[in-house]
């Protein structure tokens, strides 16, 4: 039973309430998952600490080559932000793929990370972007990669009974870098994807300098297609190279069958072409930006 709902004004106040309640208080932001969990009693707490009124957690800022997304910025804010749409359209697309309009109007990326569902669209894209989160608790601020924020399904390293995420940060893609987000789902809203893929590719002298490919749900957390990434280094981007990378992506994937969201066999069958498509789209973006010489 919830006995107290606190609208925190500052990060310090929020952390203070969490500390004081010693495990009996939880951070709530959009609450789109938490409200469901509380109702089904799979999560229990007595105090909810709402962080959406804290000034320092709001908004999206572009700062000296960094993109900083406040922990309470909603999926809708992110997916419709003109600067994000121009410079990281993949993230706008990923944020715009979460749930439904009603969910996106309150859900946050920080919440997506804490909830630690491997398939979370925005988190998969953040892994591909190499994004970091800043965590604040009684301890000093610490920065970790989104990729390292996962322990297993539904469990992240961020403990919402002790800590809050204050921001998400990544380097704004350069002219020679392209990003993409590809998603296969059974309908256009309110559907857990069969497979989603986030990709970021950096080119130099028309060859691939490096690539980051994140994919889900193929394991208990978003997974990097490291074999494909290594293969791509130094390659000239062509359809065949992407196809080969797509095939290699399967080596890092260990999907399981879900009776609603797709069988293991189906996921593995569509993964290569979706990875190839994501790479093609990332390269197309670089070409559009004039990043290929």
């Amino acid at each position: 039973m919830i006995r107290e709902y606190v609208l925190s004004k500052t990060i310090e106040e929020a952390v203070g309430i969490l500390t004081k309640n010693n495990g009996n208080a939880m951070v709530v932001s959009g609450g789109t998952d938490l409200a469901v969990d509380l109702r089904s009693e799979s999560v229990k707490t007595e105090v909810l600490v709402d962080v959406t009124r804290i000034e320092g957690l709001k908004g999206i800022t572009f700062d000296d080559g960094d993109v900083i997304i406040g922990a309470s910025a909603t999926m809708s804010e992110i997916s419709t932000d003109e600067r994000i749409k121009t410079s990281v359209s993949s993230l706008a697309k990923a944020a715009g793929s979460v749930g439904s309009v009603q969910i996106r109007n309150v859900a946050t990326m920080a919440g997506n990370i804490v909830k630690a569902q491997p398939v979370a669209d925005s988190s998969v894209m953040l892994v591909a972007l190499g994004a970091e989160i800043t965590i604040r608790g009684t301890h000093e601020l610490k920065d970790i990669l989104v990729q390292d924020a996962y322990i297993t399904v539904g469990k992240s390293v961020v403990d919402p009974r002790k800590e809050i995420i204050t921001k998400i940060k990544f380097k704004k893609p350069q002219k020679n870098q392209g990003t993409s987000f590809v998603r296969l789902s059974q309908r256009k809203a309110l559907a857990t994807p069969v497979i989603n893929v986030g990709a970021m590719v950096s080119v130099k002298d028309n060859t691939i300098e490096w690539a980051r490919i994140a994919m889900a749900p193929v394991d208990v957390k978003p997974v990097r297609a490291t074999e494909a990434e290594n293969f791509l280094i130094g390659k000239i981007p062509t359809e065949n190279v992407f196809k080969e990378a797509g095939s290699l992506a399967v080596n890092n994937a260990k999907p399981v069958t879900h009776l609603v969201w797709g069988s293991k066999e189906y996921k593995l069958a569509v993964l290569p072409s979706l990875v190839a498509r994501s790479l093609q789209e990332a390269i197309d973006e670089i070409e559009t930006k004039g990043g290929m010489s």
Partner: protein, 758 residues
């Protein structure tokens, strides 16, 4: 002045748009308790022991009911038990609570408490010891000797009621005279209504012991009769009504599927307090009736020139744990499946089978989406084999007025040819086979499907209707009908019929619907019948009222009756001179001790609305994903009384058909547990998934329908699956034989045929 044929504003529009309309879920009474239901976690088990003592002691709990302390009368939650045609016997296989559970979600016990949270908490304190029984989920396996018997049955292992056989001339002779024969079997899935308001009821008992139940039913009068049978209380001691709206239906509320009404009633009777039972979305998904899944086999014979000779259809449907409409659904699947074409030799054999899944019952189209998806696939197979264009093959064989058929009513009107021709034009049929996608890994196709349907439930069920049309003392009018407004706009259309028959403005009429104490008997809003069958009674009531008014005017003003008419708001003579306004006559009559009341009591004939759907699709060979780009839905509705409402019905039905074709399915795991138990897990198309839908209205003016109208409530759903199946086949060159055409199923089909691109 006339309102028929005009899209007058719906009477319920403001209530629905602003949210002020009352639904059962909104309904509250002083001192009301809240009921919650304990459900079986097992697909098949005997309740060896049930101990409610801990729950009874929980603070706030007022009563705990189980099979031990509730009436044991057998009934059927579907309204069929109240209107099965006399030569057949209704299947009664349900009790309020039984000592045996037959599917995951079956009702075990119920609690009434001072709050929903308390009732829910107390459910955990009911101790049940289950003795597990073997379970079976597939209808073919359930018919085997080794399968567990789920109920007593006489027609065959686990077959409820009787097998439906529809012979029409010798089908063997027909196949002998055929040059070409094609046949195939199709597998259909479980679809769920997913109507907006979950099953719900509020029951209250007064000092006389009379029970009032406000609920979501589509059939207040039959539901009153079911409650009467289940509780052993006379009909006149039970009032069933909607308050006044029900949040959708689509067939799931033809009776009281999932038992919210009887459970609220027994809890109210036990506590002598009002009790509200509102099912959660999960309960609604797992416990209320679904569409029948199963298998449909079709064999079609034709001459080389394409003339159909013989059509043989066989259906084996899965009716789940209880019969519900498990006898009528296979019957209608066959009877109407055979009705679209003039085939000289026809045959149908069909039945359903008990299994340990959620009961299947009535659902928009009542067997027809299953039958049509299968039959129309085989018609396309025939077209391909004969090398005849599918449009031409259909035009050659469709039913025409006066053609012989197996149904006990004549085909007196059909706009099918126009539906086919207009639909083909609008989809761009001439480009079929030439469509190219921009993406080399995508294939485009066009397909079609047709169907003939009904405008009420006769001859499959008893069907008759009544209406009162009474004039208030100021001349305004009250129409009273038993069929409720479940979202189709029927109240508005019925008022249009009454207004134009009487000759008064539409605005003069107000409508009372769906209340067993205040409206005359109706079998309810279902079977695409409300406009046609209730409408026939409304027209009769208006004609009766008109005669009453004119007779009174003739006597009062000493004018011959045949010189009088009602036009607009006035009583006029043939030469159009005004005698008196209707309102003034009403006032005058009232002061001279007279009210005008019209009564309509009718037994409808039946008439087939005809429809042809066309679909354009794109299939992604790298993912199996089917995108429906456009649906053209051409419907012969007889006469569109309110065109906007008719288009809404067609478009909504077509979208439901798109879901049926490509994404909607309830699957069960190997322990009988439903996997798609809420809006997240059940893949209903969202607004974002809606393809372009073009509705075409064709008016054939049926001589038996009110103002020429035929039914339209279900038809939008019926041939959509067939059109999409045939379009996908046209796109990829391989025929799918299982619905839905989900990415995963399509992936398997593409892979088997070496079409999958990785």
């Amino acid at each position: 002045m006339k309102s028929v044929g005009k899209s007058v504003k719906r009477l319920d529009a403001i209530d629905k748009v602003t949210g002020i309309g009352t639904f059962t879920t909104d309904f509250t009474l002083p001192g009301m308790l809240f009921g919650k239901v304990l459900r079986s976690p097992h697909p098949h088990a005997r309740i060896a022991k049930i101990d409610t003592s801990r729950a009874e002691k929980f603070p706030g709990v007022k009563v705990v009911l189980t099979h031990k302390n509730t009436p044991k009368n057998l009934f059927n939650t579907s309204a069929t038990m109240t209107f099965t045609v006399p030569q057949m016997k209704p299947v009664l296989d349900q009790r309020i609570f039984d000592d045996r559970v037959r599917y995951v979600g079956d009702e075990v016990a119920a609690i009434a408490a001072t709050s929903e949270a308390i009732a829910k908490e107390a459910l955990k304190l009911i101790d049940v010891e289950y003795e597990l029984l073997p379970a079976v989920y597939d209808p073919l396996l359930a018919m085997e000797d080794s399968a567990p018997a789920i109920h007593h049955s006489h027609a065959g292992k686990n077959i409820p009621g009787d097998i439906v056989r529809i012979p029409f001339n010798s089908v063997e002779e027909g196949f002998k005279s055929s040059d070409v024969i094609v046949e195939s079997t199709f597998k259909l899935q479980v679809q769920k209504h997913a109507q907006l308001e979950t099953q719900a009821a509020v029951a209250s008992v007064d000092g006389k012991g009379n029970l009032t139940v406000w609920c979501t039913t589509q059939t207040p009068h039959p539901t009153k009769m079911i409650l009467s049978a289940a509780l052993g209380i006379p009909n006149n001691k039970i009032r069933v009504l909607n308050p006044p709206y029900a949040g959708g239906g689509f067939g799931v509320r033809i009776g009281c599927s999932a038992k919210a009404e009887p459970i609220a009633a027994v809890l109210a009777l036990a506590t002598q307090k009002p009790v509200k039972v509102v099912y959660s979305r999960e309960e609604d998904f797992i416990a209320s009736d679904t569409r029948h899944s199963g298998y449909v086999a079709v064999k079609l014979g034709a001459k080389k020139d394409g003339t159909f000779q013989a059509l043989d259809v066989k259906a084996t449907l899965n009716t789940g744990a209880y019969c519900s409409f498990g006898v009528e659904t296979p019957g209608v699947l066959g009877a109407m499946g055979l009705a679209a074409y003039n085939v000289p030799h026809r045959n149908y054999y069909g039945h359903s089978v008990y299994t340990n899944i959620t009961p299947a019952g009535a659902f928009r189209g009542f067997g027809a989406p299953q039958g049509t998806s299968s039959i129309e696939s085989v018609v396309d197979m025939m077209a391909e084999k004969l090398g005849i264009d599918p449009v031409e093959l259909r035009l050659k064989n469709i039913m025409k007025v006066g053609d012989p058929w197996h149904l006990p009513f004549e085909c007196k009107s059909t706009g099918m040819a126009e539906c086919v021709k207009e639909g083909a034009k609008k989809i761009g049929w001439e480009s079929r086979g030439k469509l190219k996608s921009d993406d080399p890994n995508k294939r485009r196709g066009i397909g079609m499907g047709i169907a003939a349907w009904v405008s009420n439930s006769w001859p499959f069920c008893v069907d008759y209707d009544n209406a009162y049309l009474s004039m208030h003392q100021d001349g305004s009018l009250q129409l009273s009908v038993g069929a409720p407004e479940i979202g189709c706009g029927s109240g508005t259309s019925l008022a249009q019929l009454a207004a134009d028959t009487l000759g008064v403005p539409f605005e003069a009429i107000d409508v009372t619907q769906g209340d067993t104490a205040m409206t005359p008997f109706s079998i309810g809003s279902h079977a695409s019948r409300t406009l046609y069958a209730t409408g026939t009674a409304v027209v009769a009531a208006a004609e009766n009222l008109k005669q009453e008014i004119l007779k009174y005017a003739a006597e009062t003003f000493d004018i011959p009756l045949d010189n009088l008419d009602i036009v607009g708001a006035n009583i006029v003579k043939v030469d159009n001179t005004v005698v008196i306004s209707v309102n003034d006559l009403a006032v005058k009559a009232h002061l001279l001790d007279r009210q005008f009341i019209g009564v309509g009591q009718t037994i409808p004939s039946n008439a087939s609305p005809m429809q042809a759907h066309f679909a354009e699709v794109e299939v992604d060979l790298t993912t199996g994903k089917v995108d429906v780009i456009k649906i053209v839905a051409a419907h012969d509705v007889g006469k569109a009384i309110n065109p906007a409402i008719v288009e809404g019905q067609i478009e909504g039905g077509a979208l439901m058909g798109v879901g049926y074709a490509i994404s909607e399915e309830v699957v069960y795991d190997d322990k009988g547990k439903q996997q798609n138990y809420n809006y997240h897990y059940y893949l209903l198309p969202t607004a974002a998934d809606r393809p372009e839908i073009e509705a075409i209205i064709v008016e054939s003016n049926d001589p038996t329908g009110p103002f020429g109208a035929k039914g339209v409530g279900e038809t939008g759903m019926i041939p959509t699956g067939a059109a999409i199946l045939n379009a996908v086949t046209n796109a990829i060159g391989v025929r799918p034989k299982e619905l839905p055409l989900s990415g995963e199923k399509m992936f398997k089909l593409l892979k088997e045929n070496n079409l999958f691109v990785s």
